[in-house]
Symmetry: C2
Subunit: 196 residues, 2 copies
Amino acid sequence: MPKDLPLLTAAPVERRDAARNRRALLDAAAELMGGCGVEALTMDALAARAGVGKGTVFRRFGSREGLMASLLDHREAEWQAGVISGPPPLGPGAPALERLHAFGASRLRLHLDQAALIEAAGRTWGENHAVLGFAELHVRLLLGELGVAGDVAYLATAIIAPLAVPVLRQQMHAGMSEQQILSGWRDFVDRLVGSE
Amino acid sequence: MPKDLPLLTAAPVERRDAARNRRALLDAAAELMGGCGVEALTMDALAARAGVGKGTVFRRFGSREGLMASLLDHREAEWQAGVISGPPPLGPGAPALERLHAFGASRLRLHLDQAALIEAAGRTWGENHAVLGFAELHVRLLLGELGVAGDVAYLATAIIAPLAVPVLRQQMHAGMSEQQILSGWRDFVDRLVGSE
DNA sequence: GGTCGAAACGGACCGCGGTCCGCTTCCATT
DNA sequence: AATGGAAGCGGACCGCGGTCCGTTTCGACC
């Protein structure tokens, strides 16, 4: 009998060399990005730095955008964990409106921090249901707790939309500070949920 | 004395061959795009089709994204004309709230029609102050007419944000129809301005 | 019409993202 | 330990966006 019953949920096991190369690639990516911006992260350079062939890089990540998405996944997972089980007010335990405010603040911060990476990831990032979908679901639930009536799904989308990177870049370009953006967003949300 | 006094507002005059090539390039672009999608619009193919060199294309438009932006400019100008001096309810003459609704409907339609082009234009499109800036200003003025208090500039941005192409694509992907999106947006806006 | 400077042209050239396919490495089984 | 086959690997190759610079064309002025 086999040692490991192949569970239905088990991901297809990764071969040793594959795992090693994955590690090497992510490390090399971090190094290259640390030196300069995302521009420095060339697929050829990455392959060379990690000591693997170019084909391996594309086998792993599918595309440059996919690689960027992988780099973003770590932070995103941390953030989601913070929402699900972290300390309030972002995590559970605070009143819904406070949690909503904390959501906006942390999401804004995340997007500003990772702006370059997010743009480099392009549609690979946003189209991942696990990303935008999670945030939208969270906001929907909070709106429900707040007793908001109407098309809650659309409202959730509309609440998240102005936190998108292109919008933020435009606002920063127009001279707004992170504080101004955040307070604008908070007023906007309050106005939306406060009209009961 | 010169026939044409060079007015201060006059753009630096375009040479004959330059104008001819510009025409040829825009026509060729339309032809190539008509056949297939935006993907078919290769800079090499465009140059060949228009019977000019590749360098000429880049001299004109700066980049592929710039070319896309140029293609969008025509429609955008028409739309802006419709807002400034077209028939109500989009143009002047209708109550502010109706104009706002009409704004959303026509803008939604425009974005859906031109989605592929807009995405291909990338940041060249959004960063043009004449585009997003105009729409935002318009919404700001309408909000002012409606007597909305608070950070009107931010609210204008937030009202426009969910009409961005990536958001729309996500919604269409989730099975929403144009009608559903529009009515969701209208409720959202009503809730925002109706809480006086 | 002739002349001259500037603007426009064109296509060879480069770097990068992405593909392809023959070769190597791993690991389950005997 | 031997072995079979599949998963993984690597780097030559391609197409496209973008640049560069010697050459051509325009048109203003004499």
